[in-house]
Symmetry: C2
Subunit: 263 residues, 2 copies
């Protein structure tokens, strides 16, 4: 396992599989096989990446430096059980699934988890993505690191348990903010107000979060226990059920956390 | 009221007052008076801006093109009642207070609300701040616009009711995200994981929000009704009370919103 990874095969034809294949292909890593049940996509992607199309997991060749299982979380174990690879390095790309589920497929396993949310239409810029690596031994971690370095210098080593914490934090950092802001934009649009008015403030918000001092920099009606403004806002939100609940709960949480503290 | 605003006086010595005074001072607008009860700050700021120090609101001179009341929301009306200005233009800087509370102070009133959260230590970059303007007549709005243009081209015209909606949206965009991310950073730190791992994802989150399509781009366990992952995450958060509540509520809201829809 000391040889560098020069070619890879990929199981899966979803967003993660396509984005990872694209990123490695652009970086001259040979894609040997694209494996999946979606025949149209397997055929299409194999053509794009000059790979052999394979339509059944159990027909995936072990003649590859690395097999990447990039399928949905619940399918990883199902796929792993269909592989009998002896020593071929097998990794998955999930934040919440343990590396151990891969044991059944090979004696050499790992995780290659890009901490990003991918869409189909936009080619991801991997230099701006954190990649979390785990390996069943140090050599594997070293090889996966060399591979990851082709794409980004934001490389983190996390054990399966730690990776779950990061995945949870990512759900908050992406899904929850996205939901809250989507609802807020809709609220303003209903009031015929252009939501772009919020953009500079959003930038400032994230700049402050990045300082790592968000908790110390907390401001706003709930922070200063301004119950009058909170009541006014809740009154306004009575017709926007989802934002009402968010506003009420967040304000209570902030009041609880800072209760009694002086601004 | 057709004359351009060439000099201003400011009531207040908090963050908003200081940042606005600094911004105008840098743009060659003369600061005539700094008015406030905090004698030390009034003296200090008057020196910085070459203004006359005034320690009582009712001693503020009406000989100014514009008086800016930049005090906390509940104090605006109290201050306004102490002014008897006839025609001098008086504005406040609040998102949630109606322009009408200024009527008692002058026949010419307005609002100059910078949509930003200010700190003491960092001089704000006003070119990156949205400013919301309201005036008791069109000439006032025009004059306030000319003044705001010295600082930014992000100028919005909002009536008092609309400004409240924007203030509410700002609380969500800043205070709630700040709180949620502060708690998330603390969660990772407790697990000895460097929170900077989240930075690229946060950037992507905000980039997507900025497209205005956040609701359409929603992803994550709650979006795909992945109850197993949600249960795992809640289990992890049992010891982090505030994040537990946030995670539970947000996931429920997202599940409710997208329930039954196909990804």
């Amino acid at each position: 396992m000391n040889l560098p990874i020069k070619n890879i095969s990929i199981i899966g034809t979803g967003n993660v599989a396509f984005q990872i294949a694209t990123a490695f292909f652009k970086n001259k890593v040979s894609i040997k096989e694209i494996v999946g049940r979606n025949e149209q996509r397997v055929a299409e992607y194999s053509k794009i990446f000059g790979a052999r199309p394979v339509f059944n997991c159990n027909e995936a060749s072990s003649e590859t430096d690395l097999l990447i299982i990039a399928v949905s979380d619940h399918a990883i174990e199902v796929v792993a059980k269909q592989l009998k690879f002896n020593n071929t390095l097998v990794v998955h790309t999930s934040g919440s699934v343990s590396m151990d589920v891969l044991k059944i497929s090979s004696s050499n396993t790992g995780v290659f988890y890009p901490l990003q949310t991918f869409t189909k239409d936009i080619i991801a810029e991997f230099s701006e993505i954190s990649i979390c690596i785990e390996g069943s031994d140090k050599n594997i971690e070293s090889n996966l690191t060399d591979l990851a370095k082709l794409l980004t210098n934001k490389i983190y080593y996390l054990k399966s348990e730690e990776r779950k914490y990061v995945h949870l934090a990512a759900v908050i950092s992406n899904n929850f903010i996205n939901y809250m802001m989507g609802s807020t934009f809709e609220f303003l649009q209903e009031k015929n107000i252009d939501p772009t008015i919020l953009m500079p403030l959003l930038n400032e918000t994230i700049d402050r979060v990045k300082t790592g001092n968000a908790s110390k920099l907390q401001t706003g009606p709930a922070r200063r226990n301004d119950t009058e403004t909170i009541a006014q806002h809740l009154q306004i939100l009575k017709s926007s059920k989802d934002l009402y609940k968010i506003y009420e709960m967040m304000s209570q949480e902030i009041q609880n956390k800072y209760n009694g503290e002086k601004l």
